[in-house]
Each structure stands twice: as structure tokens, then as C-alpha cells.
Amino acid sequence: MRLLTARLSTKRRSPIAGLVVVLLGLLLTGGGYALLSPASAQSGTASQSTVQQGRQLFLVGCSSCHGEHGEGIVTKRGTQYGPPLAGVGAAAVDFQVGTGRMPMARPGAQAQKKKVLYNDQEISALAAYVASLAPGPAIPDPSTYNTTNVDTQSIVRGGEFFRTNCTACHNFAAAGGALPGGKYAPSLHGVSNKHIYEALLTGPQQMPVFSDGVLQPSEKRDIIAYLNSVMANPDYGGAELGSAGPVSEGLFAWLIGIGACVGFAIWIASHSTRSTRSTRSRKGASA
């Protein structure tokens, strides 16, 4: 900066000075907007070498479906083989690769959660490369999803947001639910705060995007805090039976309840006070 101002001051009267100032002004405004606007996700910290490393990893692990430059691949039938990645942001990469959903084992209705194949450094390199394609949501700062100091009132509010926005697909106990065409909303048990936050932010798979305009960062945090608080509760009623609702309750009523009662009925009917003779004859009759 000092060099730039020094040069300006010496060539103040140059005929192109005005043009330079205007250009510089535009550059600063644009750059400043790009840096500070909420839509921007580019954290300036990603160095060129990280992006380069991410590009190399991308070419090996992702480009077969997403295209060499993340432009996506369309099949001959016009369906998406792998969607374009410009603008999905670092948060999406961190979620998809960080939960093992990407790279996909095979094409299917939905990417499944599985073993994570990249280490943290590689994931951030991939995220930096994808983020360099176009601006998108950045990986959230840990302070945004830290729920240690959330008060009960916010947890209750988080519960209301959860029931309004999430239970329809993820089920009342966040145990997951089915969606049409083999797709599904996964269980939220054992999912880290960061990944829930990123999922809300980027809307992976079938999930809608809950941008900061729809659910403010604090509201997202409250939902996560509610989930953590409910999952830390003891199982008040006993075994949860998969928290799948009345279907699993019906299954247990038949298998265990009726099973046990009929078992006892058989036991009672086969034991009588003076039954030695008659049981033998009955056995003979029904054998």
C-alpha cells in the first residue's frame, strides 16, 4: 500500500492519474464488497498452494462426476451425473466430504454417510478449491455452533424451530424418515454440531437450504442446542424401540406382548393339578 501511494504522489500530474484513481476506487469497493458482504464466503486465508493442492485432489477424486473444473456432467439423457459445484461453497464440501458422503461409492438416489476418506487437511484443501470457483457459504466459525452456554429458553425456542422445520422429514426424535424415490432424511444422532450447521446452511441432498435469511445463525444454534439437550436426556419411558413411532410399538405389542401371553397360556393349559392321565390322552389325540 505504501508503495502504491508513494507512486501516486510522485506521478500526481500524470494524464492517466484520474483513470487510475477511478479504477483503484472501483477495485477497492468491489474487493471490499467481495470481502465483507454476507454472501461471501471466501476466507482470505486459503493460500494459493492450498487451492492448488485441492485442485489436484479434485482432479483425482471428484472430477469424474463433477467435471474437470467442477462444471458438472450432464448425461446423454439430460440428467445430472454430478452437479456443478460453482457457488456451493466451502461449507458444502466440508459437510459432504467430512461426513463421508462424498466421494460417492456409486450413483444412487442419495449419497450415503460412510467412512470419511480424506483427512482434515485434505478436506480443507478441497473446500478451498471449490470455494475458489465462485463465492458460496464458508465453513462456519466454531463460535456459531458452540452450544455450551445456551440457556433453557433458547433450547425451548430451538425445539419449536425443530418441530416447525425439521420433524416432518427427520422425525420427532430426529431418528430419520423416508422420502419418495428411495431418498431419505437421515438420523441426526451422532452428527456433530458443525455438520448439522453446515447442512442447514447448504441444504445437502434433498434438504432445503435454511439460509441465514430464513433461520438466523442464533436460531440454527438453538436447534442444535435443543437436539443436544434432548439426546442427553435419559430414556424416561424405557427402551426407545427405535423412536419410529406407533409402527415399532405395534410390532413389539405383537411379538413380545401377545407372544408372552400366548406362551403363558400354553404353559398354564399344559399344567393341571390332576392332569397326568388326561394330558397323556390329549397328547395322543392331538399329536
Binding site: 420433524t167 423416508a178 431419505y184 406407533p246 405395534g250 413389539f252 389325540a285
Partner: protein, 575 residues
């Protein structure tokens, strides 16, 4: 009988009556109960595990009455809005109905409240499941035949009322699940052409949800339906006592007697003990397994819904029919007829219930059987009847599975749409296939019975003939078993009527009679008749001969071995 009625050697002495005896005399002097009791305590009940299935339903109903009374002491059937301030942190400060708040209060702040709620709910699931199992036993063994058709009808009404009672209870806590159920029920009512809107307005006291439905359902749940249930259960059991219990065929058991144990003391102890067992099973389930965790669903809010919103299991099959129904609607004169809702959830259950209710009368009309039946039939001996019930069970079972299609999809990694397409086809194909397979299966089992009667049971002894062929030795079955297997009524297949009788007078409604005869012929077709007395005697002689032959062979065999043994020892001695 002028001689002594006891084998005792001492003379009888007069004692002062015991305290219990005095009390009994006091009661008897005032009520005359001894005459009735004397007969009833000697009432004989036959012993078989399948006769205790209805008892599971009876005893779980008693458990329901006991736990339900406990719950009414705290539950507030009101839709008035309150702010929750109880022990459950995650809902504190949320606005909700008094009903839901009191359900939370029962669960977290009343000692034993959650246990009672869960026992109540599990017992309700058992109550209806046991009624189903009991009903299937009655049907499969032909226990519904004359004179017990009326008890079949009462049982069907109990099943219907039990399901309604269950649904009203499901809707009371006013959590998200029960509210969703009511929302759905409201929709079903609206789908009824012409009167649907009016019924809905009367039921909810205006638009859904209003503030009247929970108090109204509460009255039905704790007063109206239980009272009718209790009355019908009483009638059901009075008829049982009056008509006496049916029994399976066996030595000494005929159509005119009942073989078993008297009410006192054996059967009373057994039945009383079974009550404690059913109570124990439901208490264990209530203590160990979570059911309807209302606190996790949150208060009902029409803008919310949860994945896995299903009715309790007994309402699962109409729900499944609704889920697989194509979205057919008719728009005419500014009105919408929602066939997609009306057919699966209003028409179908009504139709199925009517079929269930009519089953004894349909069978009776086809077979034209006017006799009294107190001996049960084995399911295999009525193949068409057994196959009919299995076909109905397949139909209901497939719809029931469709009611859990989303849970199946997520738990078994299946495609929800494919499950729907599969069941759409299978509800039509499945029952037919099940009917054919069951019928043939029953007939094969009849054939096996006939073989057993004529050739005996497989002894496991392999015989080698002098030619070197191997065959398994069959031994005759016991006389008791022969009696049980042969005590089958002979099929009474009616003759096809002619257009007119011998005098040329046209037969009245001959087409209907012909249909009936055709159905009756189909009903009995394929039945394997039990062997005649001559056949059985011949078989018995043959078996006796074989037995003698085998005994001879065995005798011979042991002697050969013995000889060999002798030789061996002889050899040892030589060395």
C-alpha cells in the same frame, strides 16, 4: 343309595360350622345365592391353550379399567391454553392445551404416572391384538357355528368398539401425533359426500380443531364406549356360560358333553392366575419399553407434522389402504368427490367389517347346516373356510404393511414408491394366491391324516426286505388318536335342483338355489373322506400282522447279535 355315601370307617359327627361357613349361610339366607353358585362352581371348562386367548383380551381390559381410572385422577380433558411450567425442561414456557400439559404432568410429576400411562397404552395394544387372535381361533376351528353365531356378532362389535376406544384414547393427550391423527380423521369425515362437512362441524363444534373435540372424545373414551364394551363383554360371557364351551375332538368328547375341569377350584385358579400374568406382562412392558413418548412429540400445532406419523397398529390397515390409493378425484358442479380418501378409509373398513360380521351366516347359507355344533373342527378339515380367512388376513396384512411403508423404506433401505406399487398389485393377487395355497395345503393335510389312520405313524425303524429293498416301518396310532381323527362329520353335499318338481310346479328362485349348490360343491370339493370302519379294520389287521412280523424280526435280530456276541467271547476265551 340307602347305604353310606362315604368309604370312611368312622361315623359322621356334627361340628359347629366354621366362621366362613357361618358367613356363607348368612349371605345365602338373604340372597339365595347357593343354588346358583352350586351349579356355576361346578361348571366345566375344557383345557386347551387356544381357549385362553380371549382371556388375554378380558384381562387386559381389566388392566385398562384399573390404570385408566388412575389416569383420570390427573388428566384434564380441556383445550384451554396454558403455559407449561413443569419438570420437562425442553418444553418449559411453551403454550399448549391443558390436556397436553396434564399428560406431561402425569408423565413427569405424578409418582408412577408414566408407568401407568405406559401400562394403559400397552394393555390397549394387547386388548385389541388378543381380540384378533381370539377371533381367528374361533373362525379357524368353526366355533362360530350354530348356536354361537350371536356371540360371533357380539365379538365383532367388541372389536369395532375396541378400535374406536383405542382411537379416542390415542387422540386425548393432544400431542403432535394425536393431533395429526385427529386432523386426518377430520379429513376422512370431510370426504364423505354431502353430509361430511356437517358431521365434521357437529363433531368439532365448528372448524377443526376448535376447542370441543378433546372433552367430547374424553366422555366417549371414559364413559360411553367402556360402558358399552363392559355390557357386551358381560353378554359375551353369559352366552359362553349358557351355551357351554366348545371342545376339540378326543376320547370321551362328543357333541353332547364337555370334558374338562370344574370352575372351582382348578379353572378359577387358572383363570385368576392368568389375570396376574397378563397384568404382569403389561406392567413389564410399561416399565421397560417406551410407548407414545408424548414429551418428544411436542404440543399439537396444525402447522407441524412428524415423519413416522402412524395410527396405533389396529388402525394401520385402513391407513395403508389410504397410502396406496391412487389420487382419484371427481369434480362436478363445483363439488369435489375425493374417492382417494372416501373409498379406502370410509367404504373399505365398513365393507370389511360387514364381511367379517357376515362370515358365519354366509357359510351357513352355503352349507345349509342346521345342526348344533359343540365339537371344534381342525382348520384342515374345512379347507375353504380356512382359506377364506387366510385370504382375508393376507389382504389386511398387506394393507397393514402399506401403513408402515415409510418405516419399511428407511429401515430396510427400500424405495417408498416401489413398496407402494408392489402392494397395489399384491392386494389383489396376494389373497387369491393365499386362498389357493391354503386350500391345497389343508387338503394335503387331510390326506396325511388318512395315511396316518390307515398306515400308522412313521416309526423311524428302517426295514430291509429279503429282496434288499429298504422301507420305513409304520406303526399303528393309538385308539384315542384314531377316535379324534375319525370324529369328523361327513360332508352333506346338496343335489342340484331341477327347474320344476315332479308335478311340473316351477321351483321358487331356482337360480339362487343353484348358486348355493354350486358354492356348496366348491366348499366341500377336494375333501378327503375319513376311512370307513371296514377300511380301518383291514388296516388294523394288516398293521397287527406287520407288528408281529417286526417283533419276530427283532427277536431274530437280537438272537443273532447274541450269538455273535457268544462267538466273540468264545474267540477271546480261545486266545
Amino acid at each position: 343309595m340307602s347305604t353310606a355315601t362315604t368309604n370312611g370307617k368312622k361315623a359322621a359327627q356334627v361340628h359347629r360350622p366354621s366362621k366362613v361357613g357361618q358367613l356363607a349361610t348368612w349371605v345365602d339366607d338373604r340372597t339365595g345365592i347357593a343354588g346358583v353358585a352350586k351349579k356355576q362352581v361346578r361348571k366345566v371348562f375344557p383345557d386347551h391353550w387356544s381357549f385362553m386367548l380371549g382371556e388375554i383380551a378380558l384381562w387386559s381390559f381389566v388392566v385398562l379399567l384399573l390404570t385408566g381410572t388412575f389416569l383420570t385422577l390427573w388428566f384434564k380433558p380441556s383445550m384451554g391454553e396454558v403455559v407449561y411450567n413443569g419438570s420437562y425442561d425442553q418444553l418449559r414456557g411453551v403454550s399448549m392445551s391443558e390436556a397436553y400439559a396434564s399428560a406431561l404432568h402425569l408423565s413427569f410429576d405424578v409418582r408412577g404416572g408414566l408407568l401407568m400411562r405406559q401400562i394403559h397404552h400397552w394393555a390397549a395394544m394387547l386388548f385389541i391384538a388378543a381380540m384378533f387372535v381370539h377371533m381367528m381361533r374361533i373362525y379357524f376351528t368353526g366355533a362360530f357355528r350354530k348356536p354361537r353365531e350371536l356371540n360371533w356378532v357380539i365379538g365383532c362389535l367388541l372389536l369395532l368398539l375396541g378400535s374406536l376406544e383405542g382411537f379416542t384414547g390415542y387422540s386425548l393427550p393432544d400431542d403432535l401425533l394425536s393431533g395429526t391423527g385427529l386432523r386426518a380423521a377430520g379429513g376422512f369425515i370431510l370426504a364423505i359426500p354431502v353430509v361430511g362437512t356437517y358431521i365434521s362441524f357437529f363433531l368439532f363444534g365448528g372448524e377443526f380443531p376448535g376447542d370441543a373435540i378433546i372433552p367430547r372424545l374424553y366422555t366417549a373414551h371414559v364413559l360411553l364406549i367402556p360402558a358399552v364394551l363392559l355390557a357386551l363383554i358381560g353378554l359375551h360371557m353369559l352366552l359362553l356360560v349358557y351355551q357351554k364351551h366348545t371342545q376339540y375332538a378326543g376320547p370321551g368328547r362328543t357333541n353332547d358333553n364337555v370334558v374338562g375341569y370344574p370352575m372351582m377350584p382348578v379353572y378359577a385358579a387358572k383363570a385368576g392366575g392368568f389375570f396376574f400374568i397378563v397384568f404382569g406382562v403389561s406392567a413389564l412392558m410399561g416399565g421397560l419399553m417406551s410407548i407414545n413418548p408424548v414429551w418428544r412429540y411436542g404440543p399439537y400445532d396444525p402447522s407441524q407434522v412428524t415423519a413416522g406419523s402412524q395410527p396405533d397398529w389396529y388402525m394401520g390397515w385402513p391407513d395403508g389402504a389410504l397410502r396406496i390409493m391412487p389420487g382419484w378425484e371427481t369434480h362436478a358442479f363445483g363439488f369435489t368427490l375425493s374417492w382417494n380418501i372416501f373409498l379406502p378409509i370410509i367404504v373399505l373398513p365398513g365393507l370389511m367389517f360387514t364381511i367379517l360380521l357376515m362370515l358365519p351366516f354366509i357359510e351357513n347359507w352355503i352349507t345349509g347346516d342346521k345342526r348344533d355344533h359343540h365339537l371344534l373342527q381342525r382348520p384342515r378339515n374345512a379347507p375353504t373356510r380356512t382359506a377364506t380367512m387366510v385370504a382375508l388376513m393376507t389382504f389386511i396384512g398387506l394393507l397393514w404393511a402399506a401403513g408402515g411403508n415409510d418405516i419399511m423404506a428407511i429401515k430396510f433401505n427400500l424405495n417408498l414408491n416401489y413398496i407402494t406399487y408392489f402392494i397395489r398389485v399384491m392386494v389383489f393377487v396376494g389373497p387369491v394366491v393365499a386362498f389357493l395355497i391354503t386350500r391345497r395345503w389343508c387338503i394335503s393335510l387331510q390326506r396325511a391324516d388318512r395315511d396316518r389312520l390307515l398306515h400308522g405313524y412313521e416309526s423311524g425303524v428302517i426295514m430291509r426286505s429279503p429282496e434288499g429293498a429298504y422301507a420305513e416301518k409304520h406303526l399303528p396310532i393309538s385308539t384315542g388318536e384314531t377316535f379324534a381323527l375319525t370324529s369328523r362329520e361327513h360332508d352333506d353335499i346338496p343335489a342340484m335342483p331341477s327347474d320344476a318338481d315332479e308335478n311340473g310346479v316351477a321351483n321358487h328362485k331356482v337360480w339362487l338355489t343353484r348358486l348355493r349348490v354350486r358354492l356348496a360343491r366348491f366348499w366341500y370339493s377336494g375333501n378327503i373322506e375319513t376311512p370307513s370302519r371296514e377300511e380301518l379294520e383291514a388296516a388294523r389287521h394288516h398293521a397287527d400282522d406287520e407288528l408281529a412280523e417286526q417283533e419276530l424280526a427283532e427277536y431274530h435280530d437280537s438272537h443273532v447279535q447274541h450269538d455273535r456276541h457268544g462267538i466273540e467271547t468264545g474267540e477271546v476265551g480261545k486266545h
